[in-house]
């Protein structure tokens, strides 16, 4: 009985073989709703496919999902194709998805809307990035299929409208899985060549699948990064691709793109003849203006009456020279007068004259001095005799002669008050003709004070 036991691995392998041998499970077409969607960093997608009653684990490896034109989301209804197999480690059966597309809404339409929104958010459509198309290009690069109506329409239109421009076709695939890379490569190559001043990128009309490469992100990015201005021309007027949004100018058709890329030769001929007319008009305008000026000058007073002009000048000259002479004479007279006056003043200041004056002064001063001296001496004499008689009046001896005497104390001082004297004091009295020595008997003070 014991040999009936199996290992888990053995049973799992058995089940796996069973499943792998069932051709129905090898290729399953399944319709369901996505949930638990998870995009692993390594690129694999893990999700659950479910309906109302059941759910199934599913995985879509990077190798398979790289071709997806849209990004799966939870709640999205999808149609998937894949195989059912066992994931041995978990003992779990799951669906290995090979292909997936949205159910109900077209996969391409969804992808278009998703990429459009993404690029719009990145600013790819912003008018600030639009480069101007050169008005008269020298070399046009045409990136399209070398066969078909589009390339023919573009080239015949260019050569018909403006044969001066060079045109070079950069042949690319415009549909199929390699088209996007082919178009991208051509845009990048054109940018490295330094040959073209404008590029036309496009193709003729077709189904959305046929036009699809112009909705690819790599193509949009190449157009956005192009330094050369790009005119897009994809399909018919009603076909709008991502490339049309990114391009610097969108043409409705390939023929329209060529018309936008080059000016019309006939229009340019009109333009040059118009410029020529303007050139002639400008010059003849300038001529007639100068002619007018010349006529005005010729008819001016100076040209009509040259003699008058000269005689007028002559008269002016005469007046001026007369004035000059007169001024000169006046000046001379004035200077002569000045000179004579100065001479006179100088003569008055002659030193001899000064000496004369001075010696007269000296004599006068001498006389005055002598007279003054005489006055002074006389006056002094009078004063002296007056003084002498005054003095003789004041001489105490003279006074004493009239009966006055002077008392002296023993120490020789003149006694002027009875208060200086006491009873019995010795004193001497000087009289006019001698001295009397005396003694005080009594003193009596006057009371009349």
């Amino acid at each position: 009985m014991s040999e009936q036991y199996l290992t888990v691995t053995a049973l799992t392998k058995y089940l796996k073989r069973k499943m792998e041998l069932d051709p129905h499970l090898r290729n399953v077409w399944l319709r369901g709703e996505i949930s638990n969607f998870k995009l692993h960093t390594r690129g694999h997608m893990y999700l659950t496919i479910k309906d109302d009653q059941a759910r199934m684990q599913a995985v879509m490896f990077a190798g398979s999902n790289k071709n997806l034109t849209f990004m799966p989301e939870n709640g999205m209804n999808v149609l998937v194709r894949g195989e059912v197999n066992v994931f041995e480690s978990y003992g779990q059966y799951q669906l290995y998805i090979k292909e997936m597309e949205p159910d109900g809404i077209g996969a391409l339409y969804l992808a278009f809307e998703q990429l459009k929104e993404k690029l719009e958010n990145k600013g790819f459509f912003d008018p600030v990035h639009k480069k101007p198309i050169p008005p008269i290009p020298k070399h046009i690069g045409v990136i399209t299929s070398p066969t078909g109506a589009a390339v023919r329409d573009i080239l015949t239109t260019i050569t018909r409208r403006f044969p001066l421009a060079d045109a070079t076709v950069l042949p690319v695939l415009v549909q199929g899985p390699n088209a996007a890379a082919s178009i991208t490569g051509a845009i990048e190559q054109a940018n490295q060549m330094d040959l073209f001043d404008v590029l036309i990128v496009g193709r003729g009309g077709g189904s959305i699948e046929e036009l699809w490469s112009f909705n690819e992100e790599i193509v949009a990015t190449a157009i956005f990064n192009s330094k050369i201005p790009i005119i897009s021309a994809v399909g018919h007027e009603t076909d709008t691709t991502i490339s049309d949004f990114v391009a610097d100018l969108r043409a409705p058709t390939p023929t329209g793109a060529a018309e936008m890329a080059v000016p019309s030769r006939l229009e340019l001929l009109d333009r040059t003849s118009e410029l020529e007319r303007r050139l002639q008009r400008a010059l003849s305008g300038l001529y007639s203006e100068h002619e007018k000026t010349l006529k005005r000058l010729m008819s001016s007073y100076a040209f009509r009456y040259p003699q008058q002009l000269v005689s007028q000048k002559e008269q002016q000259l005469d007046t001026a020279s007369e004035r000059l002479q007169r001024t000169f004479d006046n000046q001379l007279t004035r200077l002569g007068t000045n000179l004579r006056q100065l001479d006179l003043r100088l003569m008055q200041q002659h030193p001899e004259r000064q000496v004369e004056t001075a010696s007269t002064d000296v004599k006068l001063l001498e006389k005055n001095l002598q007279r003054a001296m005489g006055w002074i001496v006389d006056k002094e004499k009078v004063d002296l005799s007056t003084m002498i008689s005054k003095l003789s009046l004041l001489n105490p001896l003279e006074i004493m002669k009239r009966g006055f005497s002077v008392p002296y104390s023993n120490d020789g001082a003149i006694i002027k008050s009875v208060q200086q004297l006491d009873k019995g004091d010795q004193l001497s009295i000087r009289l006019a003709d001698g001295v009397a020595n005396c003694q005080v008997i009594d003193t009596k003070e006057n009371r009349n004070e």
């Binding site: 023919r152 070079t168 030769r265 040059t272 410029l275 010059l283 300038l286 100068h290």
Partner: protein, 77 residues
């Protein structure tokens, strides 16, 4: 004129337009204006000649080596 022969149509056109504008501004001395006029008329003739006596340019195609070779535009039958 030998100098002008080197001019591209676009350059000639641009120069012609500049000259017309300068002349129309009116503040050019007469002698200079005559020079401009003569130059302008030559440029105009050059542009005109280029537009009238144009030979059809050979359209080219780039081959896989990145070199250019003549390309024959097939008319639709």
């Amino acid at each position: 004129m030998s100098e002008q022969a080197e001019l591209s149509f676009e350059q000639a056109m641009k120069q012609l337009e500049d000259i017309v504008e300068k002349l129309e501004a009116g503040d050019v001395p007469l002698e200079k204006a005559i020079d401009y006029y003569q130059e302008g008329m030559q440029l105009s003739k050059l542009c005109n000649d280029k537009l009238v006596n144009v030979q059809d340019k050979m359209v080219k195609i780039m081959n896989e080596q990145g070199t250019l070779e003549p390309f024959d535009v097939q008319e639709e039958e």
